[in-house]
């Protein structure tokens, strides 16, 4: 059986409006209730069964479409006359086959009063269903509220623990090369800022929101006159503004501007973009830029009407990450606990690590030393001799400590008390001097691995900040009588700790509050998450 529908009413068959299907002549029915879409069935000149709207005047030769799915939400099939039961039965069978038993409408024989009684019963049933659904919804909401109030309560001890954990340092995620030029920030008067993202410099960030703590921007010219630098952190695919920063020109000066979030982000948005513009009068600030290099997709997009860059360039930035949800340590959380804020940490780059060299000769017929890729260095210990290697580090400004971890990467190793040590020396010293600690800038203790596979941290803290290049000496030793099999000791996770004030000479910029955020007609529907303003302090 094939049922056709007039094309003109085809989409309306699948709208949610309740429907009644009349098997009989529409002329015989008075008062078509407007709360329903009334449908009628007729046979056309080719003996096809055609579904149409009962409210419409029949057309001479309507365009027809075959129905694969029965109309939605049909409450009843009404057969007022005795002779139409056959077609009703066929229709019901088709309905069950194509739409499933649950969709088959109630078959009503009889006069209008019979139909009305059926509709009344269905209406009462629907009402009852909605009341139940609403009651369930209210209960769901109540349970949700209750759970927020009672179940998610963090014990004070855990809060204290978290506060301590929150002292985790910021870690440098990415930095880009030495600036080669600069770009002027687009500047507008208070009333003439054009709408849309073309009004700003746009810089895609190669980092996701999860763990993002902030960034440093390099200012080559702070701007003059009365004006403010505006920064927005946007999630491009959601049109979501995550944070807004403002900085008056007179608070800016040449150098790195630390821009931070109040807390390290916990969300997982991917398409982060920084939008930069200025508002006011005078000369706008200028920001340092550098060639994008290998990945031009991270090039900045200048504001509309600005000159294009001669080569793909990006803003000079340092991106910082941290533990999600943890304060970025600029708001005095640490001082509230009476602790000094943790210094930021910079990973030592792979290029330096790859230059590792042996400083005491080893003769072996199996791999015992080498750069293993990434920041991993293999240095096997041997009996009766301390193995030694050195990594030459370039100058790291305001360096206060160097750290790394050490463990055995061979599961079959059973030797315990394997020893490792880290010594920081000025360049040019021998391994023997380093091992003795003669003239050392910093020395870690000999760390012994209680379990060979569990990593231990080595940390050498300098007595005062160091500015020049240095040598990082690595040592490993075998315990007396220790088995030599499988003792693949691997150093990794090399990091340099620098002094907090080394990041920038300007005060940290924190996001502004909802109230201070400039109105933006274009973003009226954009959901936003914003942080409280902490005024820039000198």
């Amino acid at each position: 059986m094939i049922i056709y529908a007039e094309k003109a009413c085809f989409p309306s068959l699948y709208e949610a409006l309740p429907k009644l299907l009349l098997l009989g002549s529409p002329e015989s029915v008075t008062e078509l209730n407007e709360q329903f879409l009334w449908l009628a069935i007729y046979r056309d000149c080719q003996d096809r069964i055609v579904l149409t709207s009962a409210n419409r005047q029949p057309m001479p030769q309507p365009e027809l479409l075959p129905l694969e799915v029965p109309p939605a939400n049909v409450w009843a099939m009404w057969v007022p006359a005795v002779g139409d039961e056959g077609i009703a039965k066929s229709l019901m069978q088709w309905w069950a086959a194509e739409g499933g038993d649950a969709t088959v409408p109630v078959l009503v024989h009889g006069d209008r009063a019979t139909l009305d009684r059926t509709l009344l019963a269905r209406s009462l049933h629907e009402r009852s269903r909605l009341v139940s659904a609403n009651e369930r919804l209210l209960c769901d909401l109540a349970a949700l509220r209750e759970s927020f109030e009672t179940h998610i309560r963090i014990p004070r001890e855990v809060e204290e623990l978290l506060e301590n954990l929150r002292l985790a340092p910021l870690r440098l995620v990415l930095t880009n090369p030495v600036p080669t030029s600069d770009i002027s920030v687009p500047m507008y008067g208070p009333m003439d800022r054009p709408s849309g993202e073309g009004a700003s410099i746009r810089q895609r960030l190669p980092i996701s929101a999860h763990g993002f703590a902030g960034l440093d921007l390099s200012i080559t010219h702070p701007g003059t006159g009365e004006g403010q630098l505006h920064l927005d952190l946007i999630v491009r695919d959601e049109g979501l503004t995550l944070a807004t920063w403002r900085a008056p020109f007179h608070k800016l000066h040449r150098g790195l501007l630390p821009v931070r979030l109040g807390k390290v982000m916990t969300q997982h948005w991917r398409s982060l973009e920084l939008h930069i513009a200025a508002e006011g009068a005078g000369d706008p600030p200028r920001l340092a830029i550098a060639p994008t290099g290998l990945l031009p997709e991270y090039s900045l997009i200048p504001a509309m009407g600005a000159d294009a860059q001669p080569e793909p360039s990006m803003l000079v930035m340092r991106l910082w990450g941290g533990l999600p949800g943890v304060v970025t340590s600029v708001r005095g959380n640490a001082s509230a606990l009476g602790l000094p804020p943790p210094n930021p940490v910079i990973p030592i780059d792979e290029t330096s690590i790859a230059g590792v060299r042996l400083t005491r000769e080893i003769n072996a017929s199996y791999p015992c030393f080498g750069h293993l890729g990434g920041d991993r260095v293999l240095l096997r210990p041997f009996p009766n001799k301390v193995s030694a290697a050195v990594v030459a580090l370039p100058a790291i400004a305001h360096l206060v400590a160097v750290s790394c971890s050490v463990a055995v990467d061979e599961k079959r190793c059973e030797t315990r008390k394997l020893g490792a040590r880290l010594v920081v020396m000025a360049p040019g010293h021998s391994p023997d001097e380093a091992e003795r600690g003669a003239g050392a800038l910093a020395v870690s203790e000999w760390v012994e691995l209680d379990h060979p596979l569990e990593a231990r941290t080595l940390k050498a803290r300098l007595s005062e900040p160091h500015q020049g290049p240095l040598d990082l000496h690595l040592f490993t030793r075998l315990p007396k009588g220790g088995a030599i099999q499988h003792v693949r000791m691997v150093f990794q996770g090399f990091e340099a700790e620098i002094q907090e004030h080394a990041i920038g000479s300007m005060s940290t910029l924190l996001p502004c509050s909802e109230e201070e955020r400039p109105p933006c007609a274009d973003n009226s529907n954009i959901r936003s998450a914003r942080w409280d303003l902490e005024a820039m302090s000198q």
């Binding site: 989409p11 739409g99 090369p177 290099g293 290029t351």
Partner: protein
């Protein structure tokens, strides 16, 4: 963020996009999907079509109807008998095509996923800006719940799409693709039907286009991960391949790989440029620095095929001579086979006029420095080959390029092959030095392009690497296949297999080549380390492939023959057998010219839909007719036809049980005129 909001009272006749949501269970999650669908910010009208796939839970209907009631003219609700996800989507497609005459595309949103507010606008804008062959727009898969990011960025690669599902169901299909009759396969009810749908589009000539930052969010829960873990993908993928043999037969895969030029980068020290190719017929020249930049980019961002996975260093002069002698593809293939065994492969050619054999491959092992875990480069070689990733590992300032980091998974450390090929123009034996210089140039460019800074960036890199053929052919159980050229013309490709030690084998092969006629491009495949010099030069083959047997042997002392009813049948070792099958997999016809070595390969080739033939010609073999026929009889089931030289041999074949229907007399035998039609049967 400049997109405008859709007019609420949009006329449904002007609907440009339909969001099709198959609904089955999970009513609260469906509400999230519907809410995100209603929040689209577009400058065109769109509709939402919910198809209840016969869900027995009435709450699914209740939720959908509630939303439809509250959004008349925006949400359409269809409830059908349960037919599976594919059938529900098809119902939504057919409804949308019938209901919305101005429809330009449909977007498929599963009822537990969500979309960002600009998704429809960005996908349709991309489709509108695309060329006619673009059939769908897809985006990254941002998974929430258990967080994961499916980075599908980069230019669309049809070749990559054949082995990796880069287009999720959450993509927009253009009207032109739907008008071409492409629908979801309703037989597929165990998942992955979306991959089949897009591949159907690919088979009909459509490509996808990636749209960044569109905002597709895929819900990843423990349940869905469990389903994914428990699902047996093998049979599902086999089914897809059987549905689209025109995409997945070896010849079809190879044709795409040849078009993408994604296998070899050949650096020419004498001209300073790089050839990018899979087969010599389709070659692109790159500037050296352009190639090195591609190489560095290949491990940072997805762009399948832009940087070949194999690097070969060879003078362009030598390249041209080998191409002229129709030996280039074969030499590159030998190197590729060697690099599967060793960190690098090097070749030296000698020209000994008094030698009676050619190429006469000899092998020398280069041993590594175990304490440093590196293998030194050989001095004075003309060609050197390695996986490009090996060079990349050294690409840092001050990196040492005189030796290479040992690839622990390889059976050998470094292999130098020496071949005697008379009258070969002498070329500089500076390939190793050129590789060292290339490495230094790579390090310089890495510094200039700040590669080490990008290396530190937290990017998603699971699709970022130079293109290796093993990804493409893994489902065939092969690491690669020999890129015998697949011509655009209707001529078919045949390979004739000969092995050394048979005095008239080449003459027999030559007669077979003549018999095949001009409809066929015929390659000569020699499985062995040498063949008589005097016989090689005069033959008119499209390509001559030399597959050194002994020089590439991995294990010594393993049994190298088996006895069948008293006849010794030589066998290749595991690597050798794999090499040989991979060499022959893309031909339409493979003929064993009285070669015993070829017999054990034929069963695998038949599985790959290759027509197999055995030519029995006692005069061209040092073996007796009885031995020849007996060996053939051992593998008779692997052959489509067996051609005997004379009636005596024919009777012998029959006597040893070879079925009559396969037997042909040389004078009566006619080769196939047409390529075998691909079969739907797996």
């Amino acid at each position: 963020m400049q997109e405008k909001r859709v007019p609420e009272d949009a006329d449904r006749s002007a609907v440009r996009v339909a969001i099709i949501i198959p609904a089955y269970g999970q009513p609260s999650l469906t509400a999230e999907a519907l809410r995100s669908a209603l929040n689209q910010r577009t400058d065109f009208s769109y509709a939402i079509v919910v198809v209840n796939d016969g869900c027995p839970d009435p709450s699914t209907r209740d939720v959908c109807l509630t939303f439809a009631t509250a959004n008349p003219g925006r949400i359409f609700y269809l409830q059908k008998s349960n037919g599976g996800l594919s059938a529900a989507r098809n119902t939504g497609i057919d409804f949308s095509l019938a209901a919305f005459p101005e429809l330009e595309g449909v977007y498929f949103l599963d009822c537990d996923n969500r979309i960002g507010p600009y998704l429809l606008q960005r996908l349709l804008t991309a489709l509108r800006a695309s060329e006619e062959h673009i059939g769908w727009a897809y985006t990254d898969v941002d998974k929430f719940g258990f967080v994961e990011f499916g980075d599908t960025s980069g230019p669309y690669s049809p070749l990559e799409h054949l082995f990796r599902n880069v287009s999720e169901a959450g993509s927009m299909a253009a009207r032109r693709m739907l008008d071409a009759g492409i629908r979801f396969d309703t037989q597929m009810r165990r998942g992955v039907e979306d991959w089949e749908f897009w591949l159907h589009g690919l088979e009909m000539g459509f490509h996808g286009v990636h749209v960044p930052d569109a905002g597709f969010r895929y819900r990843r829960r423990g349940e869905s991960m469990l389903v994914a873990a428990e699902r047996d993908f093998g049979p599902i993928l086999d089914y897809i391949r059987s549905r689209h043999p025109a995409l997945f037969l070896p010849g079809a895969l190879l044709a795409r790989e040849i078009a993408e030029k994604s296998r070899y980068a050949v650096y020419h020290p004498d001209t300073g440029r790089v050839s990018r190719l899979t087969a010599p017929s389709e070659r692109e020249f790159l500037d050296r620095d352009d190639y090195l930049r591609r190489l560095l980019q290949s491990c940072e961002r997805p762009d399948y095929g832009r940087c070949p996975g194999h690097l070969v260093v060879m003078d362009e002069n030598l390249y041209d001579v080998l191409a002229e002698r129709r030996m280039l593809a074969g030499i590159l293939w030998t190197l590729e086979c060697t690099v599967r065994r060793a960190t690098f492969a090097a070749v030296n050619f000698r020209s000994m006029a008094d030698s009676k054999t050619t190429p006469r491959w000899l092998r020398e092992n280069i041993l590594c420095d175990r304490s440093a875990g590196t293998v030194p480069l050989p001095e004075e070689v003309q060609i050197i080959a390695l996986e490009a990733s090996v060079l990349l590992a050294h690409a840092r300032p001050g990196g040492n390029f005189e030796s290479l980091a040992l690839q622990a998974a390889k059976r050998s450390e470094g292999l130098v092959l020496t071949a005697n090929i008379p009258d070969l123009l002498s070329s500089e034996r500076n390939a190793a030095a050129a590789l060292t210089n290339l490495g230094k140039a790579l390090a310089d460019i890495a510094l200039r392009e700040h590669a080490h800074l990008w290396r530190a960036a937290p990017l998603i890199r699971y699709r970022s690497h130079p293109a290796m053929p093993r990804d493409i052919y893994a489902h065939l159980g092969l690491p690669s296949i020999f890129p015998c050229d697949v011509p655009a013309s209707s001529r078919q490709r045949a390979a004739l297999i000969v092995e050394p030690g048979t005095s008239d084998a080449l003459a027999a092969a030559d007669r077979m080549r003549d018999r095949l006629g001009r409809q066929w491009n015929v390659d000569l495949v020699i499985i062995g380390d040498e063949i008589e010099t005097s016989l090689l030069a005069s033959h008119d083959y499209t390509e001559i492939v030399l597959l050194p047997r002994e020089a590439l042997r991995v294990l010594s002392g393993t049994a190298d023959h088996r006895i069948y009813n008293g006849t010794a049948i030589p066998c290749l070792d595991g690597f050798g057998s794999e090499d040989a099958i991979a060499t022959l997999a893309a031909y339409q016809l493979v003929v064993s010219v009285t070669s015993h070595l070829a017999h054990p390969l034929m069963g695998s080739l038949r599985q790959l839909k290759v027509e197999t033939c055995c030519l029995l010609q006692a005069a061209s073999s040092h073996r007796s007719p009885g031995e020849l026929v007996n060996a053939c009889a051992a593998f008779e089931q692997a052959y489509d036809s067996i051609v005997a030289e004379d009636r005596t041999a024919l009777h012998l074949c029959s006597a040893l049980g070879i079925p009559q229907r396969k037997l042909h007399l040389w004078h009566d035998w006619r080769p196939w005129r047409e390529a075998p039609q691909p079969s739907l049967e797996s």
